[in-house]
């Protein structure tokens, strides 16, 4: 995945000039629809890290996330001829990813495998980890690993619908309106789910908060 800064930058840019970003994607989509299959790779390169991040944080399994991300792009590739550009490609591909993940989670409901992604080394020097290390007087590496497990475990305790909203808003940085469009719900529903999910997470992560 791209750096956190680039994720925010991409969507911050999309918020500032959504039309141009949308048009850029639409022009690539039209090239693919015209038969330039290679142009699809531009869309893959642009969105693969975001899609992977969403799915990984929904499943807490890097292998499943990899498979589902590939599946998302294959579904998009197969259906791109029917994409009319009524919504942005970004919304459309996120919706495919969320729907694929939801279907997967329903099938996987009885068995759950955890397979964590590597944590970037930058996190060790973050203010949050520094603060937690000082507060808990624990070793930094062990704390980071413990925190990763606890965060993933807490997310998995949420229902898929609440988890989706938390992941898209708090981790991916999408706005309420964008999430509402992707999940085909109202902004009010998104806010309500987000509020409830955060309350749940606060109780699960109370040892680290405050």
């Amino acid at each position: 995945m791209a750096t956190t800064g680039s994720v925010s930058k991409t969507f911050a840019h999309a918020e500032e000039a959504p039309v141009s970003e949308r048009d850029l994607d639409w022009s690539v989509v039209q090239r693919v629809q015209a038969g330039n299959v290679g142009a699809f790779d531009q869309l893959v390169q642009k969105y693969r890290e975001h899609i992977f991040s969403v799915i990984y944080n929904m499943t807490s399994n890097r292998e499943d996330a990899s498979d589902l991300t590939q599946e998302t792009f294959i579904k998009a590739f197969q259906a791109i001829a029917r994409f009319k550009g009524k919504s942005s490609f970004f919304t459309w591909i996120y919706r495919i990813a969320i729907n694929s993940t939801m279907t997967f989670l329903k099938k996987r409901s009885r068995r759950r495998y955890i397979s964590y992604e590597n944590i970037n080394e930058e996190v060790s020097s973050s203010d949050i980890v520094e603060s937690l290390t000082a507060k808990n007087r624990s070793e930094k590496g062990a704390l980071v690993q413990e925190l990763q497990e606890k965060l993933n475990d807490s997310l998995q305790k949420l229902s898929p619908k609440h988890r989706t909203v938390v992941v898209l808003h708090e981790i991916e940085g999408l706005s309420h309106a964008e999430i509402a469009e992707i999940t085909k719900t109202s902004v009010g529903t998104v806010r309500s789910r987000l509020h409830y999910a955060k309350q749940q997470l606060q109780s699960y992560l109370k040892d680290y908060i405050g």
Binding site: V44, S53, S126, V129
Partner: protein, 181 residues
């Protein structure tokens, strides 16, 4: 990466913790493998045959649809032509005997419910009136009961050649075939 404002450096929120999740990122090697696998799978989708159910659906839009339509039309015609053969025989005969042209759906009717006029318009017998009062020749005979006359059917014995000789003799003299009430 997950920098806290100075005034909040001692306070950690759920949002701050969740932001740490952004640092769980695959390596470049992962993305190289990912791209290779994705291209392979996309090529497979380009050359892969559609599943059988999609082929069936597509087939229906072509020749299968035409042949199915023809078969369905033939079945409808066959049903229209053959259907009368499946009607109850007795009901059809009764209906045809009474109003063959106008009756749409045959109705089961018991034979005893039919009047003579409906059953046939040309009887092959004649009726005579017999009465005990008229035929009595004994002047001393006194009736202690009332008696009405009744109609009986008389017939021409020669028209019933299959009757036994005894029966013909015994009934021919009386000229009575059967009682009709």
């Amino acid at each position: 990466m997950a920098k806290l404002p100075k005034e909040r450096q001692t306070e950690i929120s759920v949002e701050d913790l969740l932001r740490l999740k952004r640092s769980e990122r695959p390596s470049d090697q992962f993305w190289n493998e990912f791209d290779r696998e994705l291209h392979q799978r996309m090529l497979q989708t380009l050359v892969k045959k559609d599943p059988w159910y999609l082929q069936v659906v597509r087939g229906f839009s072509g020749r299968i649809l035409q042949s199915t339509a023809i078969a369905a039309a033939a079945a409808v015609v066959a049903m229209v032509v053959v259907r009368p053969a499946f009607q109850p025989t007795r009901a059809v005969h009764v209906a045809q005997a009474s109003v063959p042209e106008t009756v749409g759906a045959p109705v089961e009717v018991a034979v005893t419910e039919l009047s003579l006029a409906e059953a046939t318009s040309l009887p092959d017998y004649q009726t005579d009136v017999i009465s005990a009062e008229e035929t009595s020749s004994d002047v001393n005979f006194v009736r202690d009961f009332g008696m009405d006359s009744m109609q009986v059917a008389s017939y021409d014995a020669s028209a019933y050649s299959t009757d036994s000789p005894q029966a013909r003799v015994s009934f021919a003299s009386a000229g009575v075939a059967s009682l009709v009430y």
